[in-house]
């Protein structure tokens, strides 16, 4: 890369006003222009006052005669239904989706009644994952479930097996906020006991309910601590307005008094509303996006790629502080490609080597045999030459011998001739 890598960031002091302190305002402006969305799921048996609570929370008739709530519909199996409403306040527009689960826990056999809920949540994650994974991405609507209010029946004793089962199966998919419904059926002491028991059981079963984040602000932390001590929140909801002490309040009228919804001494409704809507709505969305969705996504993608050790190591859910590095499937393929290229190179080199070696061997052998043959040929030649020489010598000797003998013979012949001539002469003499 042609760029020099940056060193770690250095602190610089500004000698005058620059203006980026205005960034938060810019962010504010843009967010208002975009608008907000929030999906809230309510789960619990029929008759626990879920719809009433929603209406109380949002000060509206979400469920009205034209749009009847789930309680007015009788279901045989667990359904998951959503209603979308657009509400506006102080220039801020909110698209609110309320997801209801009518029929939950109402059957005689409630095994798997949580399955439709899980399926719904997963399908919303899947939609988001798919739209995030498109090549052509547009504005992605966020329909993921940001918060699940789980209604616990005010038995006063403890959690029901269904409660535990449900929360255990969903605590890693969605932010669960357990609520004690119809809290006006318990005295404060009974309520305290009940809450303690529930928290004990939640800890015992290692259920992870939504946790309020720590902040740097001391004051805020004190408030957060106070809320934590009152978990799970015991709530009361009401659609009716009653006049109490010349004040119009939402409440439930009993012969013995009025249980006020927004009275902190009567129930924890205000705490819930403040926490859910006024202070932690954004955090609920962030946790859904950064933790629950990422969990879903990494599990889903890990199933696609056949990465061995890495993904199998971390099959469990990620916590907020998990920083282990996974690899994108594309990067994985790249790495595999690189590995393969290296492997091929190595293989090629090895094959080359073996090839060269074998060739060398063969050539050497050929050379050797050539030399051998040459040698033998030389040898034979020498042999022949030696024989030639010998023969020559013999011939020479023979010639010599022959010559000398022939010479001898000639002398003898001469002698013979001489003697015979003499004889002849004598013979002739004698005749006379």
């Amino acid at each position: 890369m042609i760029c020099t890598l940056s060193k770690p960031a250095q602190q610089k002091l500004l000698e005058g006003y620059v203006g980026f302190a205005n960034l938060p305002n810019q962010v504010y402006r843009k967010s208002v222009k975009r608008g907000f969305e929030f999906t809230l799921m309510v789960v619990g048996e029929s008759g626990l006052g879920k719809s009433t609570l929603i209406n109380s929370l949002f000060l509206t008739d979400l469920y009205s005669p034209e749009y009847p709530g789930p309680s007015h519909r009788i279901k045989k199996t667990v359904q998951v239904e959503q209603s979308k409403v657009l509400v506006k306040e102080g220039g801020v527009q909110l698209l609110l989706t309320i997801v209801d689960t009518p029929g939950f826990g109402d059957a005689v056999d409630n095994s798997n009644c949580w399955q439709p809920v899980i399926d719904y949540i997963d399908s919303k994650f899947e939609d988001y994952l798919n739209s995030e994974s498109r090549v052509n991405r547009r504005q992605m609507p966020d329909n993921r479930v940001h918060c699940c209010l789980y209604f616990i029946a005010p038995s006063g004793h403890g959690l029901k097996p269904l409660d535990i089962e449900f929360m255990k199966r969903l605590h890693e998919k969605v932010n669960i906020i357990p609520l004690i419904a119809k809290a006006d059926t318990m005295t404060p002491e009974e309520c305290q006991q009940f809450k303690k028991q529930i928290m004990r059981e939640i800890t015992e079963h290692k259920i992870k309910i939504y946790e309020f984040p720590e902040t740097d602000d001391e004051e805020e932390n004190k408030i957060v601590k106070k809320i934590k001590d009152r978990l799970p929140l015991a709530v009361v909801g009401s659609n009716t307005i009653i006049v109490v002490n010349e004040k119009r309040v939402r409440g439930r009228q009993y012969p013995w008094g009025v249980a006020e919804v927004e009275n902190g001494e009567h129930c924890d409704f205000t705490i819930l509303r403040n926490m859910l809507i006024r202070t932690h709505m954004q955090d609920l969305k962030d946790v859904t996006n950064n933790v629950h969705y990422e969990n879903y996504r990494s599990r889903k993608l890990a199933a696609v790629t056949y990465n061995g050790a890495d993904n199998n190591k971390n099959k469990g859910a990620m916590t907020k502080f998990d920083t282990s590095d996974g690899m994108s499937p594309l990067a994985q393929m790249e790495e595999e490609r690189r590995d393969h290229v290296a492997k091929m190179k190595k293989m090629e080199m090895e094959m080359e080597q073996v090839f060269e070696m074998k060739v060398k061997e063969k050539i050497q052998k050929l050379k050797d045999s050539e030399q051998e043959l040459q040698r033998r040929h030389e040898q034979m030649k020498k042999n022949l030459e030696a024989q030639h020489k010998e023969l020559e010598e013999k011939r020479r000797q023979h010639e010599e011998e022959k010559n000398s003998w022939e010479a001898q013979q000639r002398v003898l012949e001469q002698q013979k001739l001489d003697s015979s001539r003499t004889l002849e002469k004598n013979k002739k003499k004698k005749i006379f």
Binding site: I2, A9, K12, Y17, N22, L57, V135, V304, S328
Partner: protein, 427 residues
């Protein structure tokens, strides 16, 4: 209030309901802002321009601080990008600012490839983000975004028109980054020349199809000021970190014998406009445009290049899984094929070499067969010679023997004849 994007998206699916009281979700923007402030902001500026146009000085002036760096020489062999990251804080807002400088831009004799390293740098940042986004386990929330949010393109104050290098570079960059062209060292141009210069530059940009960044006019709160500012582009700026006393204030200025150019005087130059637009009003929009437009374009091109595509352009979401699987199978198949090819090639070579060697061997044997034959001939000749010599020897021997026999016979006869004669004589 105008419909929000969310409302438009929801369309018919949602009904508007009135609220009977104060619910409290109007604090959502504040909640969001608080989180952003806690998390800190990040902004990356790229300064492109020839050496000596005052890029570093302008950065120092804009951010009221002294950043790194010594002035560069003109003898760089190629264009390099140097990036530095700084942590700045103003009231409770923390900003991680990265300033990237092009070193050696415009200094070479052949400037054909000058833009390449810049484009490569920008793409590398996009690639890094894309890789992070595609990871199985990713931490986008805490990822340090290095993508370039704004590119300040420094135009030399010639007063005439854009250089061809400028046009070429800006054309290559306009689909990758938000370009904000500025006229550097504009205190060298008179006011009338400046107006003409700006008009010329704008018309050249338009006629060459260069898309520079337009300040957004869709948000009523800032629409007016943004559209006015759009008309002042390109900004003619002067940078200075030196202070001069004007009246009873110390202001940033450049002092000449004929007067003092005050950086923050809007009559003298557009520095204040630049600062307003870049930092105070549109910083967030620049980041957003980078993410939703330039980065998406890069991502789309990259994925298409790799063979991904949406199964259905509009409705059906494409299954990431299936595509990955298909890609992967294809990929594995390719690898297998390559391996096979290489093996085959080797087998071929081996065969060829074997044939070669066999040929050589054959030749050798033939050679030696010939030699052998020669040798045989020689031997035969020798044999013949030997035989003839032996014959001769035998013949000679016979002759000798015969001659000797004759001689001895003759001697004997001669002896007997002499004897006879002697006998006769005696008689």
């Amino acid at each position: 209030m105008a419909a929000t994007e969310i409302a438009r998206q929801a369309g018919e699916g949602a009904r508007a309901v009135p609220l009977a009281g104060h619910v409290g979700f109007d604090s959502m923007p504040d909640q969001l802002v608080n989180k952003s402030v806690n998390h800190g902001f990040c902004f990356n500026i790229l300064c492109v321009g020839e050496t000596g146009l005052g890029k570093s000085t302008l950065m120092d002036t804009l951010f009221n601080t002294k950043f790194e760096g010594e002035p560069t020489q003109h003898n760089q062999p190629g264009v390099q990008l140097k990036s530095n990251t700084y942590e700045l804080q103003e009231s409770n807002v923390r900003l991680k600012l990265t300033v990237v400088n092009t070193v050696g831009f415009g200094d070479q004799i052949n400037k054909e490839d000058s833009y390449k390293s810049i484009v490569e740098f920008i793409d590398t940042q996009f690639e890094a983000y894309l890789q992070e986004e595609l990871k199985i386990k990713r931490t986008l929330h805490s990822y340090h975004d290095t993508r370039i949010h704004a590119c300040l393109y420094f135009i030399a104050p010639t007063g005439h028109s854009l250089k061809s290098l400028d046009l070429v570079t800006m054309k290559k960059l306009d689909s990758k980054v938000n370009i904000i062209p500025i006229i550097a060292k504009s205190d060298a141009i008179s006011k009338s020349e400046l107006t003409k210069f700006k008009i010329k530059i704008t018309s050249e940009l338009v006629s060459n199809g260069v898309q520079i960044y337009q300040f957004p006019t869709d948000d009523e709160t800032v629409a007016e000021i943004n559209s006015t500012m759009n008309g002042h582009l390109p900004f003619a700026v002067v940078g200075s970190t030196e202070e001069v006393k004007i009246g009873n204030k110390m202001v940033k200025a450049r002092q000449y014998p004929w007067g003092t150019v005050q950086v923050e005087n809007e009559n003298h130059c557009d520095f204040v406009k630049l600062r307003e637009m870049l930092i105070r009003v549109n910083m967030e929009d620049l980041r957003e445009q980078t993410h939703t437009r330039h980065y998406e374009l890069y991502r789309r091109c990259k994925l298409e290049e790799m063979g991904f595509k949406d199964t259905d352009p509009d409705c059906k979401p494409f299954s990431l899984q299936e595509t990955y699987e298909a890609k992967r199978n294809e990929f594995m198949g390719e690898l297998q094929k390559k391996e096979e090819e290489m093996r085959q090639m080797f087998v071929q070579r081996v065969k060829e070499k074997e044939a070669e060697l066999k040929e050589a061997e054959k030749e050798l044997h033939e050679k030696f067969d010939r030699l052998k034959k020669l040798h045989q001939d020689e031997k035969k000749k020798l044999e013949d010679k030997k035989k003839s010599l032996d014959d001769e020897l035998n013949g000679f021997k016979q002759k000798k023997t015969a001659a000797e026999l004759l001689q001895s016979q003759a001697q004997q006869a001669g002896g007997s004849t002499t004897l006879k004669r002697d006998k006769e004589r005696k008689n």
